[in-house]
Symmetry: C2
Subunit: 202 residues, 2 copies
């Protein structure tokens, strides 16, 4: 999740359509920061973005539609995996990125909104799955590199390693609602690495 | 999460107040099965439970209030941890219970509703945390027994072991929205066990 925290709305300049989209997605993130997904109101996004309500409804339809488009934009912008030269460094970087994404004052509420929208909207659920599957696939490459370097057993499932590091962090965020800090992230990385070295991901 | 799938509404018979509560909680679970938390409507619960709307609003207030009370009831009913005699058996049983809870046609939608309610209601978030912390605490005892038997290193953090097994299952449920089956659950148990044996939870 190593993404510019002011991600939506700063890239891909273009014609009027692109400018409207950038303004709408930025306003959506602003509103999510302040009110969360359950407090997201189409009319407030329209006025914050300075676009007409008709345009907003015609192009995005619902608040779930806004969040889906935000997910697509964030997926496009997502940064490549770390390449520190060691699997421990790369997996720590992955955990730190997940932590950063969740705790960032702008990206965090966006991710939570994406997850919440997915509980009530099939299109949002599909976009959420696509967003994370893409991130997992990108970072799994670190494991392939580690296998090639002889750091992990051949056949280690990189996607599962990456999921296993994200999972305890999101579990605390969404289920047990416990504190999430650098220690939680680091432990997730090191415990998963211990299991991977023991061959548990082959 | 080894709980009777027809949990709310079948226990603790008592006076009229208890009977009303049982009927309301059962109707709430029925409605959640059919419509999810976002489709939960107070008036529908009242008519399904055969209780007056005034009673329902006075005692539960909102749909989040209904879900909070359901969480409290489920927490009361939660079954003790497994005691199979080996840590592998106990951790597999824990993973199987989590899987059962999520996939049960009655309990699954209830758990999802609890998690969704917690995204928009502080009281629901508190109740959710309390519900899971209690389950984690209960099952952590399996790890203490394993340490006493010499199966795991002294100082292994039982609560973290239990969380680590639940986490990949809930991560797929809520975040990546990928398939959850017995293989996913078993891998969560065995990978966590491998990390625990390697001393990664000390």
């Amino acid at each position: 999740m190593n993404q510019d925290s002011r991600s939506a709305g700063t890239v891909r300049p273009g014609g009027r359509t692109a400018r409207v989209r950038a303004a709408v997605l930025e306003a959506t993130q602003d509103e999510l920061m302040e009110h969360g997904f359950h407090g997201l109101v189409m009319d407030h996004v329209a006025s914050r973005a300075g676009v007409g309500k008709t345009t907003l409804y015609r192009r995005w339809g619902t608040t779930a539609g806004l969040v889906i488009d935000l997910m697509k934009e964030l997926a496009e912008q997502s940064a490549p995996h770390a390449n520190t030269g060691t699997i421990e460094g790369d997996l720590r970087a992955h955990a730190a990125n997940v932590l950063h994404g969740i705790t960032d004052k702008r990206l965090g509420p966006t991710l939570e909104a994406m997850i919440t929208a997915a509980t009530c909207d099939g299109g949002a659920a599909d976009a959420l799955r696509a967003f994370y599957v893409r991130r997992i696939d990108e970072w799994a490459e670190c494991v392939d590199l580690a296998i090639a370097r002889g750091e992990l057993p051949p056949g280690t499932d990189g996607e599962e390693v990456i999921r296993a590091i994200s999972a305890p962090i999101y579990y605390r965020l969404l289920v047990t609602r416990e504190v999430i800090d650098a220690t939680v992230a680091e432990r997730a990385a090191l415990r998963t690495l211990a299991a991977a070295r023991a061959g548990a991901f082959v």
